[in-house]
Symmetry: C2
Subunit: 376 residues, 2 copies
Amino acid sequence: MFTVIKQEGRARRGVFTCAHGTVQTPVFMNVGTQGVIKGAVSAHDLKDIGCQVELSNTYHLHLRPGDQVVRAMGGLHKFMDWDGPILTDSGGFQVFSLAGLRKIREEGVTFASHIDGRKIFMGPEESMQIQSNLGSDIAMAFDECVENPAAYEYAKASCERTLRWLARCKAEHDRLNALPDTVNPRQMLFGINQGATYPDLRVWHMQETAKIDCDGYAIGGLAVGEPTQVMYDVIDAVEPHMPKDKPRYLMGVGTPSNIIEAVHRGVDFFDCVMPARNARHGKLYTWEGAINIKNEKYKLDERPIDPTCDCPACQHFSRAYLRHLFAAGEMLAMRLAVLHNLHFYNTLMARIREHLDNGSFEDFRAEYSAKLEQKL
Amino acid sequence: MFTVIKQEGRARRGVFTCAHGTVQTPVFMNVGTQGVIKGAVSAHDLKDIGCQVELSNTYHLHLRPGDQVVRAMGGLHKFMDWDGPILTDSGGFQVFSLAGLRKIREEGVTFASHIDGRKIFMGPEESMQIQSNLGSDIAMAFDECVENPAAYEYAKASCERTLRWLARCKAEHDRLNALPDTVNPRQMLFGINQGATYPDLRVWHMQETAKIDCDGYAIGGLAVGEPTQVMYDVIDAVEPHMPKDKPRYLMGVGTPSNIIEAVHRGVDFFDCVMPARNARHGKLYTWEGAINIKNEKYKLDERPIDPTCDCPACQHFSRAYLRHLFAAGEMLAMRLAVLHNLHFYNTLMARIREHLDNGSFEDFRAEYSAKLEQKL
C-alpha cells in the first residue's frame, strides 16, 4: 500500500507498506547485490545507518548461491538476517550488461554466466520464480534494458516485447503468490518503463504499462550513459503518465543532485551502487561536497569525514586514520567509507522528507542540488 | 604491575596493570599490525569480542603512516580509537623477516623497506623512539630474531648482541619516559630471550636478560619452523630462569593447543596472526576442532559456525550464508570469520583462566589440547 501524504509541486512525501514493514518515501534503497553490501557491511550494520529497504539481485543470487539454496534457507530475509523490506531487481539489467553471448527471443534470453560461462535461460516466468524463491517484498518485472544509444526501431520492438513480458510476469507472479508454500505470499510486483531516450516511446510504453495492475512502476534504462539533462527530460515526459497512487522508482540513479532533481520531478524510490563504489575508491560525501580521502592533505587531519555526520565512521575516526587505512590497503577503510556514504545517502533522503513535510523542499533543492556535486 | 593470584603446577593465573587498564592473564593479544585488525575489524569491534590487549607493529607503523604522524595525532590509542592496553612489538622480527638487503652492525640494522625499497636504519634507540611516539603501554626490546636453523656460533654472537641492545633499549626507554612531552610516560619495557634452539644459549641468555630490570620478559624466535616439541623443550628450559614476579610472553604463538601447552609451562602472554589469517582463508575454530567453511557440505547448513559461540557471526549468520559470502568473494566473509576466530581465542583464554581459578586447568588441558587440533 502506498499513500502520498504531502506534495510540493510534483515532489511527493509518501508512506509505503509491504510485508516486512513501512517505508517513508522518498527513499534510497541500499544495494546488497549478492545478499550482502560490498565493503564488509552486514544487514545489522544497515540498521545503524538508517537503511529502510535493502536491494538484492536476481541474476547474481540465481548464479550464486542459487535461489533454491536461499529458498531452502528460509528466503533472503532469513539468509542475510535482514527483517526489513527487500526489493529484488529482475536480472534483466544484469543479463544485458554482465552476461555473455546473449540470445533474445520472445520466450526469454539465453545467456552465458559471467562466472563460469554456463548457459542459462531466463524469461519472465523464470525471473518471477527466482524472485519468489528469494521471497523479497518487491519483485521487479523482467525487462530488456537496451543499450545507449539504441536505434528507434530496435527500441520500439524491445519495449513492445517488454510489455508482453510484463503481462507474463504478472500472471506468473499471481500464480506463485497463491501457492501454499510460497516464501512471501504478499510479494509485490513493480512494472518497468523502457523506451530508450525517445519521449514518444517512453510515453506510449508507460501508458500501456500502467494498464497492467502493478504495485509500483519504475523507470528503467536511464543513467546508462545519456546526458543528465536527457534523463531529466525522460522523467518529465513519463511522470504525468505514471499512476498517482503508486510509488515511482527511478532505477540505478544516482548522484545526490540527481536524486534531488528526480524527487522534484515526482520520483519516490531510488537505488544506486555509486555511493558504495565511490566509497571503496575513497570518494566520500560531505554536506559541502565530495572529498577524496586518499589525498595527502588529510594526512594529519584530526576531523571526521564530515563534522556534522553521526555515522559509525565519523563518530570515532579521523580523516588521518581513514587515509592511513586506505594507504595501507586495509579492509576497514572500505567498511568505514561504505558505512559513511550509505549513511550520507540515507540522511539525504531523511532531510528531503523533512523538507517535504515542512513545505521547504524547493529551498533545500536550491541550496544543495549544485553544492553536493562539488569536489572539495 | 603483575601479580600471580593462583598457580596450578607451573601454570599461572595473574593480573597485570598498565597505563590503559588491567589485564587478566593468561591473555591472547589481538594483532592489529598496521593499527587495525585485518578483515575490516575496528578497535570498537575488539571490545565486542573480548579483546584485552591490542598489538601493533613498530616496523609497519614507522613505514606507514609514520610514527611522527601517529604522535601528532595524539598517539596510537587516539589514532585507532582503542582505550585499552596496547603492546607494540619492536620491529626486530619484521626487519629480519620482511625487509630486504639487511646489514646488521653493532649499532643496528640498515634495511630496505618492503613497501618502496627506501633505505632505513633501525637500532635499539630508534625502536624505542618509535614506540615512544606510538605511546603503547608495553614496548618490546629491539632484538635479532635469527633464522631457523641457525648455526651455533652465529646464534651465540647474535644473542650476545641482543643482550647489549637490551641495555641500550633500557637506557633509551628510561630517557624517553622521563621527557616532559612523552606520549605515554608510563610505557613499560619487555626484554626478549633469544638463542635459537640451543638450550644452553637460551638459558644463558635468559639469565643475563633477567639481570636487566624489565616489566616483563618474552621468549622470541620460536614458531619459526622448528618442530613443536622443540618449542616446548625450549620453554621448559628457559622458564625456570624467568623472573617469577614478571609476566612471560611467548611471541607469535600459536595454535589453541600450543597456547594450552605453553600456559601449562608457565607462559602468561600470547599473540599470533594465525587466527585472523586462518579466518581469511575460511578455516574457523569450533570447540570440536576446526572447520573449513568453504566446503560444499556447508551449502545448506543452517547452524552457526559453532552452536555454543556467542560471537557476532554466530549470533546472526548460518554456515550456509558464510560459505556463500566466501564463494562470492564478499569482504563480509573476512570480517565475520575474523571476528569469530578472535572471539574464539579470547574465549579460549577466558576458559583457561576460569579453569585456573577453579584448579581444574589440567582437566581442561587433557580434554582440549588434542581436540582443538582436529580438522572436522
